[in-house]
């Protein structure tokens, strides 16, 4: 009943590894966008400008309460109507980066709020600028408590990359589909995709915890 074909498995493995690389690049690039943009969104919500704070808050809420796949479609298919024509890769990165930046902004917000109030007072007592206060004092301390959440979303973004297959990004899922329909065999490619995702996601959580400990030690905060 279970006719697993090893020769076919070995044959398609190189193609799937290449797609894995693409998937990791997609996840990495999307994550890089999310890490930076998320910080911008988090800081924008802490400015004294009420209108900006309100608008950013609403945008974050909106992104968080609509499905990622819709956002991917929006950037790729609706973008051109506004003269923004992007290839699948770029659209995918932007959509996934935008989506996760909303979640990361919440992680940062929590991290920043966890920094003791006295730290702000100490900065004020040294007449430090707002910029120095954030970048030299507050954010370094907000980082360790944010790392667990950041790590979860790194794994999350990785697991969400198959959604990019809907607009034709040649990541792992897309490649498995292609192999399947070319050969009329789906068991091996899909199983391998599952194994690859598992093999990458499982150790990630542990590595993130190790990294968190390393950062804390590096910053002298036990």
């Amino acid at each position: 009943m279970f006719d697993w074909r090893w020769d076919f498995t070995w044959e398609i493995l190189p193609r799937l590894f290449e797609a894995t690389l693409n998937t990791m690049i997609a996840a990495g690039a999307g994550y890089a966008i999310a890490v930076v943009l998320g910080l911008v969104l988090a800081l924008a919500q802490r400015t004294p400008w009420r209108v900006l704070t309100f608008v950013v808050r609403e945008v974050v809420e909106f992104i968080r309460s609509t499905p990622l796949v819709l956002q991917i479609f929006f950037v790729f298919f609706v973008g051109p109507q506004f003269g923004i024509r992007l290839d699948p890769w770029t659209s995918g990165m932007i959509a996934i980066g935008l989506h996760y930046s909303a979640y990361l902004s919440e992680v940062y917000r929590g991290g920043i709020e966890s920094v003791a109030k006295g730290q702000w007072e100490a900065c004020a007592s040294l007449s430090m600028s707002t910029r120095d206060t954030y970048f030299r004092i507050i954010i370094p301390q907000a980082l360790p408590p944010s790392l667990a959440g950041m790590g979860n979303y790194l794994v999350g973004i990785f697991k969400d990359t198959p959604m990019l297959s809907v607009i034709g990004v040649a990541e792992l899922m897309h490649t498995a589909n292609a192999i399947g329909s070319e050969n009329y065999r789906f068991l091996e490619p899909y199983t391998l995709v599952g194994v690859i995702f598992l093999a990458i996601s499982l150790p990630a959580a542990g590595l993130i915890r190790v990294f968190e400990g390393w950062v804390r030690k590096k910053l002298g905060m036990q």
Binding site: A116, G118, S125, L126, M128, R136, Q141
Partner: protein
């Protein structure tokens, strides 16, 4: 009622001008008035001890020199307003930028030290001079090391705060504040969070500052003995006002107001 700003001078001049001057200062949080119409002059080099029951506004007095905006009145430091700035010959509320500049000559130490935990003792003391005053790292390091030596913490200069005791952290915090070369130092219950046996190491540093430096100081404290020893004047706060003030010997031995008498006898019986 709007505060008429024309009643306040643009600057305080003259040889006898106070280093710190509160003029009719009112501070509110929402509808809660925490300080009302406070007038207080502190001469250059003077050490003022601020005492009073919890919630009487002692911390707020210091915070207004450091962090807060006020609703009425003007505060001057070193002759210049710090809450307002002169524009076309008139005082207007200060911009954020002006506020920060104007408060540069003021240093503060806190009850819970508030050292930067991700920096060593030395880095804590260099941060302000390098980032705010624009000093070279070399000069800042030299200054920081001198100050850590002065507070007896040079041996621990490469330790992070988490490796230091409360008394040690507070001494580093004093060095950090002094590294900015302030003209005015504020101490807010700097010994309240310390174990009794290490209070002395911090009060000794403050004593040293009083005898060896011409700093102007405002010190909120619950240690009546210490206040009596080292202050030039004691202000007793009650309900957001100065209920009574005077030389330490006068105020402690012969308080005139009933509330002062009650407070002092309550403190004494608690000891």
């Amino acid at each position: 009622m709007m505060d008429d700003l024309t009643q306040y001078p643009l600057t305080l001049e003259g040889a006898d001008a106070p280093m710190v001057s509160f003029r009719n200062v009112t501070k509110r949080y929402g509808s809660l008035t925490v300080l009302e119409g406070l007038d207080l002059d502190v001469a250059e080099g003077e050490m003022i001890a601020i005492i009073g029951p919890s919630g009487s506004g002692k911390t707020t007095v210091l915070r207004m020199l450091m962090l807060e905006r006020i609703q009425e009145g003007v505060i001057y430091v070193d002759g210049k307003p710090i809450t307002h700035q002169a524009k076309n010959g008139k005082l207007v509320p200060a911009s954020d930028r002006y506020l920060r500049r104007a408060r540069e000559p003021i240093g503060m130490c806190f009850q819970h030290f508030n050292l930067f935990p991700h920096m060593t003792a030395l880095q804590n003391c260099m941060e302000g001079p390098v980032q705010v005053l624009g000093m070279s790292r070399r000069d800042a390091r030299e200054r920081a090391e001198d100050l850590l030596e002065m507070v007896g913490m040079i041996d621990k200069k490469d330790q992070h705060p988490s490796r230091l005791s409360g008394g040690q952290q507070q001494r580093v915090a004093i060095a950090r504040a002094l590294a900015m070369r302030p003209k005015v130092m504020l101490f807010d219950e700097v010994t309240s969070a310390l174990d009794p046996e290490v209070i002395g190491e911090v009060t000794n540093v403050i004593k040293k500052l009083v005898t060896e430096h011409n700093l102007t100081m405002l010190m909120v404290t619950h240690q009546m003995g210490f206040a009596r020893d080292i202050s030039d004047r004691v202000c007793f706060f009650y309900g957001g006002r100065i209920e009574e003030q005077g030389k330490p010997a006068e105020l402690f031995d012969n308080p005139q107001r009933e509330r002062t008498q009650q407070f002092l006898s309550a403190v004494k019986s608690a000891d």
